[in-house]
Symmetry: C2
Subunit: 322 residues, 2 copies
Amino acid sequence: MLSEFNLIAQYFTRSLRQDSRAALGVGDDCALLTPAPGMQLAISSDMLVEGRHFFPNADPKKLGHKCLAVNLSDLAAMGARPLAFTLAFSLPEARAEWLAPFSEGLFALADQHACELIGGDTTKGPLNICITIFGEIPAGQALRRDAAQPDDDIWVSGTLGDARLALAAYRHEIMLDDAVLDAASERMHTPTPRIALGLALRGIAHAAIDISDGLVGDLAHILERSNLGATLNVDALPAGTMLTQQPLDTRRRFTLAGGDDYELCFTAPVSERAAVLAAAQAATTTVTRAGSIGAVPGLRLIDAHGQPLHLQTASFDHFTSP
Amino acid sequence: MLSEFNLIAQYFTRSLRQDSRAALGVGDDCALLTPAPGMQLAISSDMLVEGRHFFPNADPKKLGHKCLAVNLSDLAAMGARPLAFTLAFSLPEARAEWLAPFSEGLFALADQHACELIGGDTTKGPLNICITIFGEIPAGQALRRDAAQPDDDIWVSGTLGDARLALAAYRHEIMLDDAVLDAASERMHTPTPRIALGLALRGIAHAAIDISDGLVGDLAHILERSNLGATLNVDALPAGTMLTQQPLDTRRRFTLAGGDDYELCFTAPVSERAAVLAAAQAATTTVTRAGSIGAVPGLRLIDAHGQPLHLQTASFDHFTSP
């Protein structure tokens, strides 16, 4: 069995980048990070628990990707540029067969975004992975949840609901062909954090959030914090490629409240429509306009013909959901 | 049962301080932190797992204290001033009887050090608490592990071994009177992070580390990183008040390799002895000189008469220890 120190050395210690903001990385009591002048640090922590956020037999390489992806997604939703992260995890035993592919998946995504591992902690226990991520953003430019304005358009990046479709198949709520399930599963296991889009939307979008618990619940956070309401055209929402083959009711429910999408939901002034589309193109990410912010509190769902829709949807809550 | 959002709101959402470095706290995708000009951020993560770092029936108020204390101790060992922390935890259920005292113990210590909770994550799962802490330090002044110099004195703060004594009693390795066990247990359950001492040692000490896994193992990190060796006078080490009543062999073993002390071990030039003592007095913390750094690699233990001691000691390793 590997000792804790050998384990860290073998799989998680790398040299700092030439252009690193870190003055000191893994191996001291603390890491040292020097933000550039005029920059704020954006900080987020996400904890992923076996059996709750991923299956006990989850592919460790994909898991390494996903743990970092969900944190990068929080930076994207603020418009922050990734800098560094810490990794704390407990695992039942230090096995190379798990650690090697886990660190491979983790660092592959980290390297794509020039995001360095600068510290952390390892211990024995039920599998639990906690990443805290650091990004930087010019002071005052963050895309906050409380910044939506009346008459803003509501936009969604990429597509929604394919991760939820895969989950439905795993739960035997729905039958899928193997090829369809494989494609949908990719969305669940290896989400794409929308970093480039978040950066491109600085100065254009007002409010933003990443869609992790389902669009309805996450948009509700923007509305609550901004003290506003919204009308959402459910049939305008961009369904995932696999989800488009499903019946209308499934499409609507999974795009609205699927969870695990890690797309961005953001608001922007009507006058910035061309700028939003240009930002999306620059970030090679599709965006879809699907509603608007209003002064009256609450979320109103409408169909393609503008008629009110009454759908039972619920956002994911870690303590009251099954 | 409380939902995740109610739980965060009820126990973990407070207003930011007037003098906060945080521009945005709990409740968005990320927190925003603005370090003062010329400052580096010191960052550390520690994960505490039920059954590994604390007993399943641990007092939640003391546990709240300890989770933050072990992180503050890492800042102390760098000479950093606490600023803020994130808290991510999984727990089996959201019970007020646990959350209320846990948050009380956590915030009582946080307030002592003006250290703000700025974000985090809560989820369902086996009890696991991960704190990432942020401190600031003028660029270049951190007390690093790799900065020891030949002929430096080796110093230890406070006393060592009482936490290990309590553990020995819990494990039935040793019998203690109730009053002695209670006193020793306090050292185990509510350690005191040496923040004031760490700050006072800036510019005086060379290298520092906090003693979490036992002095021998932690001092070895300084020696390894600094590429040096040391001679340690075992009988000069400051044994805990309760430990002093134990036989010599127990005193030696528990001061050398006790673990869970959260005292500082640091090195400083011989010429700075008066300055070290003045810093300790300013920080109202005792310090004891117990050895010296040398050019020859390895750690040599000696007794009060300068004779070599051959003791079996081992540092705690989270994967190879029982």
